[in-house]
């Protein structure tokens, strides 16, 4: 188990740490993590499929402003490891992933916001010393310490947790298993709700239902929905831009009479003359 534990921890370090070292390039998302964990444990296909299911569940788990609801990397790596190495039923592994993700998010926030506070005085010190070199070294050391400590969680979970988890899953009765499987189907709802919070407004709500019907009844694939969506948005934006231009023009016109009240009469005259000239030409 040492080998598996080490490999799982390494995957967490590379994907989670790497994501934040290389500009949040999304290599921490379950789609990618599942694929990498699958390759490492010798069943890429299973890893990719696991990643697809977990991506849906953790869709709304986004690190916005440093407030994380569930941490997808540890969850995906552990679920994939359990599923491929221990032959745990895929649905049960998915259900396990959620509590793991919530717990891991808690530990991650504790590390980043509380433990890493130790370094805050050093930031001030190196600035005062006018020492960008020390600042850079500290910047990278903090990265290493945080993600190294964090990947230890996975190491010990696989090492110590594998046997109890296997034992526990073997003793789950059928109807509880059905319930656990159902969680995989219902949990994405929470993720989508979190995303909706970001974008929802009463006027735009119909588009949510339009998207739902496009798939539920018309069975359109997601590429088609995205393409139609882009066309729709472009058409609406052109109309909006037209309206906006008209509004801005109107505002300008409303301002003008006040500024040029005295010259109003002569303006009218010239406009009429202009029209006549246009007519005859």
């Amino acid at each position: 188990m040492y080998r598996e534990a080490f490999l799982a921890a390494l995957t967490v370090f590379v994907c989670y740490g790497g994501n934040w070292l290389f500009g949040q390039t999304m290599i921490e998302r379950p789609l990618v993590v599942g694929c990498i964990a699958g390759i490492i444990f010798g069943d890429m296909r299973a890893g990719i499929i696991m990643g697809a299911s977990l991506e849906a569940i953790f869709m709304g788990a986004v690190d916005i402003g440093g407030a994380l609801s569930a941490e997808p990397v540890t969850a995906t790596v552990l679920a994939t490891t359990f599923s491929i190495v221990l032959n745990v039923n895929e649905k049960a592994a998915l259900a396990l992933a959620v509590p793991i993700g919530v717990l891991a998010a808690f530990i991650s926030m504790f590390m980043k916001n509380v433990v890493m506070n130790l370094f805050a005085p050093l930031v001030d010190k190196y600035a005062k010393d006018n020492n960008p070199r020390a600042m850079a070294i500290m910047h990278y050391s903090m990265w290493f310490i945080n993600y190294f400590v964090f990947s230890l969680i996975t190491f010990f979970s696989v090492l110590e947790g594998a046997k109890p988890v296997q034992h526990m899953i073997n003793s789950i009765p059928d109807n509880l298993m059905a319930g656990l499987s159902a969680t995989g189907g219902l949990l994405p709802a929470v993720g989508f709700a979190i995303l909706m919070r970001m974008l929802w407004s009463k006027k735009l709500a119909p588009y949510f239902f339009l998207g739902f019907i496009m798939v539920a009844y018309l069975n359109l694939p997601s590429v088609a929905v995205a393409a139609l969506g882009i066309i729709l948005v472009l058409v609406i934006s052109f109309k909006d831009k037209q309206l906006l231009d008209m509004e801005n023009k109107q505002k300008e016109l409303e301002k003008r009479p006040v500024a040029a009240a005295g010259t109003g009469a002569s303006n009218n005259e010239t406009a009429e003359e202009q029209e006549e000239e246009d007519f005859f030409s």
Binding site: M26, N113, G179, V190, L204, A226, V233
Partner: protein, 275 residues
């Protein structure tokens, strides 16, 4: 874009330095009070080194003023880095420049820029990328993760690059202008519309519920409850549960409680033999 026409060769080199360093801006997090200040200082170091070359005291002061809390959606934050670089340049050249205004402007831009950045990149592009990726990956295809990474990262990295230059050359007046003439509103509306459409479509394809309950009929085949539900409205239960979660969130219920609630609900339904 013709953004770098009026930028000197040395400045361009410096901006590229900021662009590359900005990838690591969130690598470290110095607690809740400073957040990503070290990453920000590290990213703008090329600018400080360039403009305070012969002025160690000036560079020291500049570093000290940027030790305050920093957090902007990272691929949009380069706009502020470019902007700060242009202001530090002015500060180094003009004796009576108000250095405090640099931090004030930086801080005031954090909210609006993160708002736009989060909704466009997290709410729309990532959702589209994941939607395409999941549908391929669910069949076990490696194209799923690959396309997911490409669809998200190409626009994200291009934005990061161009905004570094835009921040430097356009400055603060640009943001004020697009807010004032309303272009920002159109952009926001377009992003939200597309995002909601995608989220709606993914609710239909990914939130799943199927009931095993059936009504026994004397002498005939039992009728599945699910068939009735589908006739009423396809995906009625997934849609209602998603809307319920949204409603709970808008009532400021903690996300983790909702997650736990859904988990418990599904398990209870399983124990009762409904699913």
């Amino acid at each position: 874009m013709k953004l770098n026409e009026n930028i000197s060769k040395e400045d361009r080199k410096m901006l590229n330095g900021i662009f590359w360093r900005s990838f690591t801006v969130f690598a470290s997090r110095a607690g809740a009070t400073k957040a990503h200040a070290p990453g920000f200082i590290y990213s703008i170091t090329p600018a400080l080194n360039r403009y305070y070359k012969d002025d160690p005291e000036g560079r020291r002061e500049a570093m000290m003023r940027h030790t305050t809390w920093y957090n902007i959606t990272q691929n949009v934050g380069t706009f502020v880095m470019g902007l700060v670089a242009s202001m530090e340049k002015k500060n180094a050249q003009e004796k009576d420049f108000d250095a405090e205004s640099i931090v004030a402007l930086k801080t005031s831009l954090m909210g609006p820029l993160s708002g736009i950045g989060d909704s466009i990149f997290w709410g729309v592009i990532r959702v589209i990328a994941a939607g395409v990726g999941i549908s391929l990956a669910a069949q076990g295809s490696i194209l799923g993760p690959i396309l997911f990474l490409l669809i998200y990262n190409i626009p994200s990295i291009l934005t990061r690059y161009y905004l570094t230059y835009m921040g430097f050359s356009l400055g603060s007046s640009f943001i004020e202008k697009i807010y004032a003439n309303g272009s920002m509103k159109i952009l926001n509306k377009a992003a939200s519309t597309l995002g909601l459409l995608m989220i709606g479509s993914m609710t239909a394809s990914m939130v799943k519920f199927e009931s095993k309950l059936s009504v026994p009929i004397a002498g005939g085949k039992p009728i599945l409850i699910q068939t009735y539900l589908d006739q009423l409205f396809k995906g009625l239960i997934p849609l209602s549960i998603t809307l319920l979660c949204y409603w709970l969130l808008s009532k400021k219920v903690n996300v983790n409680w909702i997650l736990l609630g859904v988990l418990v609900l599904a398990i209870i339904l399983g124990l009762l033999g409904v699913v």
